[in-house]
Symmetry: C2
Subunit: 339 residues, 2 copies
């Protein structure tokens, strides 16, 4: 149990009032008393912020955000939208970049607690038991954005990743492609790993196409990973004529790999990405992509969280599923029968 | 003056001990007393975090970071390095994305104060008088990273932007280019605006080349801006054969514009960027760039700030100037005399 102010007083051999006066920085406390109180505080590990915490006086107007990796074009884009929406509502954002490390997520959640943030947005779905318990014990409204952890009880703002992935694959099939490669995410991720893979697989199956394991690789959503995995896929004797990568960053890596092999996108291989981040417009050919409505997703995330913070008793909070949208740019074309 | 605990007690008509007990969440306080204390706290605007603030018990191990725009490839790359270095030293990072808005910077600096961060990293150099005063009044160690505001008294970790820009321009001249365009930054920015422009201008002058204002444009460091400004530069009857853009994002925009005009980089126009962000490797042709040592800059930033936090009285903190490094990839070539 966390030590209380009276424990500090007892330990220091002073009255609670004296501890309060030291804590409050009042001038008329003798130096030796001050020292004793400070020592007692140190020795007991008493944290004055517990005081603040225990009394919900008013909002801090702070929202804590946990992102797996801000170098990802998707996260940096959605974060800017979240920032703008929060700001319009007079909330400030504290962004914590956990670099995919679980330890960091735990630490930052504790920091959020100390800071008394009003709400938490999590864009990372790999929760271990410890994190799961901590989040639930914080007594701070929270939701997941762009991801859906395995637990059904947590609120998420997402698209239907399975359907989106199914639609991408059907799109490539409708262009005449029958050999369609897949660069997937981490299969421990429900949203972007499992669901996107299952959508791809089922679309092929529904169209009577075989699942060719040599055309399928799983990466870490980053450009380098897309490049390396595309290299493996190209090593097939008969490589695919189209490849679907489940992040724009990996799709750009795949596109670069094709270029580095002296081949052309989309003439030799069509490439389609996923996310609709700013990177789609930064590369040439411009990248076709299954777009998440990033702007809307950022706005709905903040608005839903603010409603949770306000705590409307008549509103039940459930997942918000936004529309996905395939945007065809210049990286896909119809299969021309070659080779 | 901020209200103190005794003011709350007086206002509520209770003893300081009672206020302490309410603040501390102790159980054996009568409900009506609790209510009176809470109302007094509300009415006076008393913030219990002042208690915490006034007594520097121990470090929070938090570093606040202010970035102008995390969608910039430079900032997202350096932030990851800062995060890793801080983490190795057991510090957590709170990133605030101010989207170039001064109001936000003010707000976040106040939040940092409330949170009792141990140190602050600022990657934004447009300081107005209010921000300048606030930073200095916070009594929290701070430094600037990658930028150098006009005030000489603040510590910065930077490269020599003037020399780097001079070297880029001399490099293009050494490749035989005499018509060299320039896509600059905001001239209100000392570091990336003024110094980079002056380096370009002086290199041309030192080599006996004219400054052609039709070849010179200033943008906002982003891809779209680079694209739009390159379009204006290409509209010259005799366009430049090489263009230097002061951010990788703008250089990529310029490269895309050339591609969209049916021209080729580097065959028709050489392009060189500035920063050395991950974007240089994400595009084709890969972007040559004057690189800031991003990894080292992130590390030195954190290490210097930690030394400031420790407060070694024998150490004087001054600017740290890191080495710049021109990395030639595939977007520049020697001028072939055409056209």
């Amino acid at each position: 149990m966390a030590p209380k102010i009276k424990d500090v007083a007892k330990h220091a051999g002073v009255s609670v009032t004296t501890v309060s006066r030291v804590l409050n920085g009042e001038k008329y406390v003798k130096d030796d008393l001050k020292e004793r109180v400070k020592r007692a505080i140190d020795e007991l590990g008493y944290s004055p912020s517990h005081i603040a915490r225990s009394l919900v006086l008013k909002k801090t107007n702070l929202i804590g955000v946990i992102v797996p990796d801000i170098t990802s074009s998707f996260y940096s884009t959605i974060l800017s939208t979240i920032e703008r929406t929060a700001s319009r509502n007079d909330y400030n954002l504290m962004v914590c970049n956990i670099l995919e490390e679980t330890d960091k997520e735990l630490k930052y959640l504790q920091v959020f607690k100390q800071m008394r943030v009003d709400g938490i947005i999590i864009m990372h779905e790999k929760l271990n038991e410890e994190i799961r318990e901590l989040i639930q014990s914080l007594d701070i409204p929270f939701l997941f954005s762009s991801v859906k952890p395995a637990d059904q009880e947590f609120v998420s703002v997402i698209i239907d990743d399975y359907a989106a992935s199914y639609d991408v694959t059907r799109h490539l099939i409708s262009l005449g492609h029958t050999r369609i490669g897949f660069i997937g995410g981490d299969m421990r991720d429900v949203t972007s790993g499992q669901n996107r893979y299952l959508g791809y697989r089922d679309a092929l199956t529904d169209c009577g196409l075989a699942i060719v394991s040599d055309y399928i690789r799983f990466g870490d959503y980053k450009t380098q990973s897309g490049h390396a995995l595309m290299k493996e896929i190209l090593a097939n004797e008969t490589p695919p004529t189209a490849v679907f990568a489940v992040s724009d960053d990996m799709a750009v890596g795949a596109m670069n790999c094709i270029h580095d092999h002296g081949l052309k996108v989309p003439d030799d291989v069509s490439i389609i990405g996923f996310d609709g981040s700013q990177l789609t417009e930064q590369v040439r050919p411009r990248l076709s992509s299954m777009e998440q409505p990033i702007l809307e997703m950022g706005e709905v995330t903040v608005e839903t969280l603010l409603a949770m913070i306000k705590g409307d008793p008549n509103r039940t909070f459930t997942d918000v599923i936004l529309q996905h949208n395939l945007v065809d740019r210049d990286s896909c074309k119809a299969y021309n029968g070659q080779p």
